[in-house]
């Protein structure tokens, strides 16, 4: 159980706006961390800093023991990243796209072909391999993005809303895939769906206005809701931590439904 991601005092300011304001957490191997928070809370910004896309205003990030600011290449080599919206070159086919990613990740010849075949099977994109990415459905695009992130079998996997826009079957498939990989990787995924946290995550953190407001297991998150709340208990906790609304109205009825 070694720590694969270590974040200390992380901050990012855009002018006067403090998008991320002093965040600390660690992710160990074998953990699947659900990264929660309202829109604009700083989830994506944090992920962009961990993956080396944005430079932090303050604090340090170590991935696989490498400082992202001073050894960016070594850190990026051990990360697989699915950015928000799963961007990919629209003119390319998934196959040529994966060949490109493979070469950049240092695979050539038979090794490259083997890895591409393996990952294509894993995310089920066999049928669209020769179609321009531009013409693919949202679900397929997401899976191509996932294939790209998994190609080098990274020790650390970071996914910004991996199931956003997928239909229930696809969601189920992606969750099973994540759960399956969770044993030997450190995985961070952001999501708005709290059942997803319960289904795949071993731990959850909630960020609000750039600060951590919860860090614990899904069960602990669930346990924070009063006994009166029967349905959507996690939603209730989420709302009580990220808005002032819930705590001000002890009635609870509007939120979770009372038994």
């Amino acid at each position: 159980m070694t720590s694969m991601i270590e974040i200390r005092g992380l901050a990012k300011h855009f002018g006067p706006l403090k998008a991320v304001d002093g965040v600390d957490f660690e992710v160990r191997q074998g953990e699947v961390l659900g990264f929660l928070g309202p829109n604009g809370a700083g989830k994506s910004t944090t992920m962009k800093m961990v993956t080396g896309f944005l430079a932090p205003s303050a604090g340090t990030i170590r991935v696989c023991g490498h400082d992202v600011s001073t050894e960016p290449i070594a850190a990026k080599e051990c990360i697989g990243y699915l950015p928000e919206g799963a961007p990919a070159y629209p003119d390319m086919t998934p196959l040529s796209f994966l060949h490109f990613i493979g070469e950049i990740r240092g695979f050539f010849g038979a090794e490259k072909t083997r890895r591409i075949e393996e990952v294509v099977r894993k995310v089920h994109i066999e049928s669209v391999l020769h179609q321009p990415i531009d013409t693919l459905s949202k679900g397929y695009k997401r899976r191509v993005g996932l294939a790209q992130a998994l190609l080098h079998d990274p020790a650390v996997l970071i996914m910004d809303e991996p199931t956003d826009g997928l239909d229930p079957n696809q969601k189920h498939e992606v969750r099973a895939l994540i759960k399956n990989m969770g044993r030997d990787k450190a995985i961070v995924l952001s999501t708005h769906i709290l059942e997803e946290v319960e289904a795949v995550c071993t731990r959850a953190i909630i960020i609000n206005r750039g600060r951590l407001v919860f860090d614990g297991t899904p069960a602990e998150l669930d346990g924070k809701a009063p006994r009166e709340v029967v349905r959507n208990r996690m939603d209730w906790v989420f709302r009580s931590l990220t808005t002032s609304e819930v705590t001000e109205k002890p009635g609870l009825a509007a939120v979770g439904g009372v038994a």
Partner: protein, 244 residues
């Protein structure tokens, strides 16, 4: 090195994935032919050289190079692939050079396809092929200068049309730098050193000598420095604007 080639290869393939590359090459060849034979009076001059061909290259590049470079970074930013690219284990200089080299190779392909004009002039007379080779080399180098400007401007915006217009304007200023109307504007109030310095940044002045077959080290250094400077600027712009 391997990374650089993978990046260039992908970029170059994307030119040919859409009709852009073919349209560009056909228009470049048609315009080059038209300007050389109709406007430049290739036959009427009765001289076996390619001066009327090379003379037009700065003007051809003025509009065609920005069309090649406008998508380089603007499209990466618009589709969000820049986030993917910059989180792959490559360095920023590799990413910039990879794209630039792809565009430069593409320009080389267009230039090489003008070879019938070289065959024509050799069939009609006995030209100085050394001078022609120098002209081609100079033209290629100048294309690099324009491409570097275009690449840097493309990083400023997510909008390809804005990138195109901006880089035409900047390239135009570099072309005109030595023209009387342009230098006179400075002569009235700026010290002579400054108006001369501005004039010395002119692409036309540096290319004129090369197009006549004179390879002067100073001209080569000039285009080399323009390329290096604008690619460096490209890196600064990307670093500052990639998050937007």
């Amino acid at each position: 090195m391997k990374n650089l080639w993978s990046l260039s290869k992908r970029e170059l393939a994307s030119y040919f994935a859409t009709p852009v590359a073919y349209v560009f090459i056909v228009i470049f060849l048609l315009l080059a032919g038209f300007l050389t034979f109709q406007v430049g009076g290739f036959y009427q001059r009765e001289q076996a050289d390619l001066v009327p061909f090379f003379t037009w290259h700065p003007w051809l590049y003025l509009f065609l190079v920005p069309a090649v470079t406008m998508r380089l970074w603007a499209e990466e930013r618009k589709t969000g692939t820049i986030e993917l690219l910059m989180t792959l284990p490559i360095t920023l200089p590799q990413a910039i050079l990879g794209k630039f080299l792809a565009a430069w190779l593409f320009a080389l392909v267009a230039l090489v396809l003008t070879f019938p004009i070289w065959i024509t002039v050799n069939a009609l007379g006995d030209p100085d092929n050394g001078a022609i080779a120098a002209g081609y080399f100079g033209s290629f180098l100048m294309a690099g200068g324009f491409l570097a400007i275009g690449s840097a401007t493309s990083a400023i915006t997510r909008n390809q049309v804005i990138a195109f217009v901006l880089s035409v304007v900047i390239c135009f200023a570099f072309l005109l730098a030595s023209f009387p109307g342009f230098t006179e504007f400075f002569e009235g109030w700026a010290p002579e050193v400054i108006s001369e310095a501005i004039g010395s940044f002119s692409f036309s002045t540096h290319f004129d000598a090369i197009s006549k077959g004179v390879l002067d080290l100073r001209d080569l250094v000039f285009f080399g420095s323009v390329i290096a400077f604008f690619l460096f600027l490209n890196a600064l712009i990307l670093e500052a604007k990639k998050a937007e």
